[in-house]
């Protein structure tokens, strides 16, 4: 488990993991800057400094290679690029890694690496604690390096398993709600795909130029290149880094349309707000983190003037020259099946009774539980030699602490749902900053005291929670609470490849408030 606070952020999965470890005697290695609940049950727990995932993963691989513990047959037959990686790993000795990661016991790196190699298969789980860095793509590749080296790919109980944080983030990606790909990850830059979708949609001149990612859109809006934005069910004012910049960007637009269930922090900046159905008021499908496509049914009747999101999009499209005539979600799904090969065999009828994981190319196909069984999609698995690189913003005298952000069990994302649910809001009504007792002592801050947290972007006031759980020199703030908005502080630098922001590390200062 690396970079995933599973028992709080994917609690049902967290319980399944706890069951395997506590009741079924499976072994567990946990890597996280915070002493999360899973750390309690781990055989080895590594409280690494935020932003040093790649170093410790390289450290494990250094030991595995040096002691000849890797899966030689798998590396030989299924992969390429191993020699380059081997060279890079040479310098990542346990002592060198422990120094980068701020760990006291380099011997544990050796012991944990031996444990990994001795038990097959090993499943690796990660979440935003791997990805939300300027080195996010490299972090993910490092997890793949480790699992390929151990021969844990393409087998049940193994694999690299990213835990997706929203109920249909997998599906939104599958459906091509991404700037560079049509449904099923077919690149927009390909002339063949352009032709294919022009035929399917009966249109001409589809663009082959990949679009802007979310953060690039905000930057372009700020700079004036993007003039109009249509936002469906998102709240970037709360969820994007560097809040002030986001607000300026949105206020700079000639047209901002927000389609949502509440007048969110983002909707307040809109020119037009369109009320849409909440999930219990709609029908359709959602795809979970295991690629399982599941049916959502209408449980509640929406208000008289509240409309389905797809209906609203269709109305705007038709006023702009389209002639769409979808009757319901099922109609749209039929079209999805035609242009999305991995969904072609999935029908509304089948998913009522079957748990189907894509790819499922035909109606007779049972779905695919494990990917990469015989080969990877590119053929051979490619090892990438990756060096540890430090985060964008390192601590200094002015901002001496590392700020990391995330979620808590009882709240969700920007809070528009969980904060409007009584039991959740009563249980966790306010934000906090976790401070190590050591730092709290130096700052003369007591548990429960209101403190000021500042970065180069801004500053907030929030209650201190003095806990051993967080490493010395680091602090943690959940981002759900507008009253103490963590994203007023976070830095908006991006991974150069996938443009993910570095939510997990920036430099901050915690100060006592003197009245």
């Amino acid at each position: 488990m690396i970079g995933s606070n599973t028992t709080e952020n994917h609690p049902v999965m967290g319980s399944m993991i706890k069951n395997e470890v506590i009741n079924q005697q499976k072994r567990l290695i946990v890597i996280d800057p915070r002493r999360i609940e899973l750390a309690r049950y781990a055989d080895y727990y590594f409280p690494i400094k935020p932003g040093t995932n790649i170093a410790i993963l390289n450290g494990f691989m250094h030991v595995i290679v040096k002691e000849g513990l890797y899966d030689k047959a798998f590396v030989e037959n299924r992969t390429e690029g191993f020699e380059d990686l081997k060279k890079t790993l040479e310098k990542y000795t346990p002592a060198y890694v422990a120094d980068i990661c701020g760990l006291d016991n380099p011997d544990d790196i050796v012991a944990a690496a031996r444990l990994m190699a001795s038990l097959k298969p090993m499943a690796l789980y990660y979440s935003m604690g791997i990805t939300q860095f300027v080195s996010g793509v490299n972090g993910v590749k490092s997890t793949a390096n480790l699992q390929m080296m151990l021969g844990n790919m393409g087998v049940e109980g193994g694999g690299v398993n990213p835990l997706r944080g929203q109920n249909n983030v997998q599906g939104a990606c599958d459906m091509g709600a991404l700037p560079a790909t049509y449904p099923a990850y077919q690149p927009v830059a390909s002339e063949d795909n352009k032709k294919k979708f022009e035929d399917a949609w009966s249109v001409k001149n589809l663009s082959v130029k990949p679009g802007l990612t979310l953060m690039e859109m905000m930057n372009a809006a700020h700079a004036g290149g993007v003039k109009a934005m249509y936002i469906m069910g998102e709240n970037p004012v709360m969820s994007d880094p560097n809040q002030q910049h986001v607000i300026e960007a949105l206020d700079n637009l000639e047209l901002l349309v927000v389609q949502d269930i509440f007048l969110t922090e983002t909707a307040q900046h809109a020119h037009v707000v369109l009320p849409s159905c909440a999930f219990l008021e709609k029908e359709g499908t959602a795809t979970n983190t295991e690629r399982r496509v599941q049916p959502m049914h209408r449980v509640l009747k929406p208000g008289r003037l509240i409309k389905d999101d797809w209906w609203i999009t269709m109305q705007i499209a038709n006023r702009m020259g389209a002639d769409w005539d979808y009757e319901d979600a099922k109609d749209i799904f039929k079209e999805i099946r035609k242009v999305t090969p991995s969904y072609a065999g999935i029908t509304y009828k089948r998913i009522e009774n079957e748990l189907i994981q894509w790819p499922c190319p035909t109606k007779e196909h049972p779905g695919t539980k494990v990917l990469h069984r015989e080969a990877f999609s590119r053929g051979k698995g490619l090892f990438t030699a990756i060096e540890y690189t430090p985060p964008f913003e390192e601590t200094d005298r002015e901002f001496p602490l590392i700020l990391t952000t995330g979620r808590i069990l009882q709240q969700f994302h920007t809070g528009s749902m969980s904060r409007n649910s009584r039991v959740l809001e009563e249980t966790a009504p306010e934000g906090f900053v976790e401070v190590n007792p050591n730092d709290a002592g130096n700052l003369d801050v007591a548990d429960g005291e209101l403190v000021s947290v500042s970065t180069r972007r801004g500053s907030i006031r929030v209650k201190a929670r003095v806990v051993e759980r967080i490493k010395p020199n680091a602090v943690f703030i959940p981002f759900h609470f507008y009253e103490s908005c963590a994203n007023r502080l976070t830095v908006d630098c991006l991974d150069p490849v996938c443009k993910i922001p570095e939510y997990k590390v920036c430099a901050c200062r915690v100060e006592k408030i003197v009245a």
Partner: protein, 352 residues
């Protein structure tokens, strides 16, 4: 696994070696009365209600006894029926089981068996130990141990499904009772409010705070959907009352969650019926939002988008789709941007 053949109540059935009699019976559609047994939990044989007669002689608890090849099982005869009536009578005597004001409100396995076996509470003076009633310390779970039959399902649910180990038994014999952690009030314990103990409680000993006053159990309608929170994709049965108000969320056993839920999946859905929901389209006029009709709002949006597209080109327009919306809605949003606007500027919060 080896197949085995046996007869249950004279009917030939087959099962697998290693299965209990209860499991073989269930797989073959035969219901053996039980209270402490639950298919998702380990077996304890505590309630004795599932006693069956094996090969015409021995009485064994079918939830713990392995089925054997050639075995002949009788699930009910007069002696067994009398034992069940006697056991149920003891349970009724020992606790405060009054269905009239019980929070289980008919969703009760003890009540079901009391009806099936026509058992009534006797007037016999039975030494009762008043136990803990805690309706106030937790905003999620109500506890009335006078309705507890010590089946231990909640303890096993917390140990084996949620794996938080909050519940446990303490003391012995007739003094045995349930405690949270080291004898704390439930609201002051380490309980994370997943509600799985309540979902599996066969009586009204553990109930949800949030359902009282929202209608009677048998009036509720049930429909399943997928949880809106994280990516695990838990399947949930949502119960609504006659007024269309959401009453409770119960984990569906057929989903990837196998019936389990977390605190958000259990209690996180008030927002759908929040009075703060948007109900009409809004347009900003002179800096203030005013309610408008759909036609005006949609005409305005389409008109302005067309103007931007004509003036600055399609790439001056961008859209954010949503990981909270369905596949169908995401598909349509990207199709809108690509086919109607002519730009690939579409993304969503996958990285956030």
């Amino acid at each position: 696994m080896d197949k085995i053949k046996l007869t249950i109540d004279g009917k030939e059935v087959s099962g697998l070696r290693g299965q209990t009699i209860m499991e073989v019976a269930r797989d073959n559609g035969i219901d053996i009365p039980h209270l402490c047994y639950h298919p998702k939990l380990s077996k304890t044989g505590a309630c004795r209600l599932c006693l069956v007669r094996i090969d015409g002689k021995m009485l064994k608890t079918s939830c713990t006894e392995l089925a054997g090849d050639g075995m002949s099982v009788i699930t009910e005869d007069e002696a067994l029926r009398n034992i069940r009536k006697w056991l149920l009578g003891l349970l009724l005597m020992e606790g405060d089981h009054n269905c009239l004001y019980c929070d289980a409100d008919g969703d009760c396995e003890l009540q079901r068996y009391a009806k099936i076996y026509n058992v009534e509470k006797t007037d016999e003076d039975f030494p009762r130990n008043p136990r803990e009633v805690d309706y106030v310390t937790s905003n999620a779970i109500k506890r009335n141990e006078n309705r507890c039959i010590l089946c231990g399902r909640c303890i096993r649910a917390c140990k084996e499904i949620q794996v938080s180990n909050v519940w446990g038994f303490t003391e012995r014999g007739s003094q045995t009772h349930l405690i949270a952690d080291d004898d704390r009030k439930i609201g002051e314990s380490s309980c994370v409010k997943c509600g799985t103990c309540v979902q599996l409680c066969p009586t009204g000993a553990l109930t949800f705070q949030t359902v009282s006053g929202k209608g009677l159990n048998w009036e509720l309608k049930k429909e399943s959907s997928i949880c809106i929170y994280c990516g695990v994709g838990c399947k949930i049965d949502f119960y609504t009352n006659e007024e269309g108000v959401l009453v409770k969320a119960i984990g569906n056993d057929d989903g990837p969650n196998k019936g389990h839920l977390c605190v958000k999946g259990r209690f996180g859905f008030d927002f759908v019926q929040s009075p703060k929901r948007l109900t009409k389209p809004l347009m900003k006029k002179d800096g203030e939002f005013v309610e408008v009709g759909w036609k005006e709002a949609l005409d305005f949006v389409a008109g302005r988008m067309r103007a931007v597209k004509e003036k600055d080109g399609p790439d001056a327009i961008a859209a954010l789709s949503s990981a909270k919306c369905t596949n169908e809605e995401n598909y349509l949003m990207q199709k809108f941007m690509r086919a109607v606007i002519g730009s690939n500027n579409v993304d969503h919060c996958a990285r956030l």
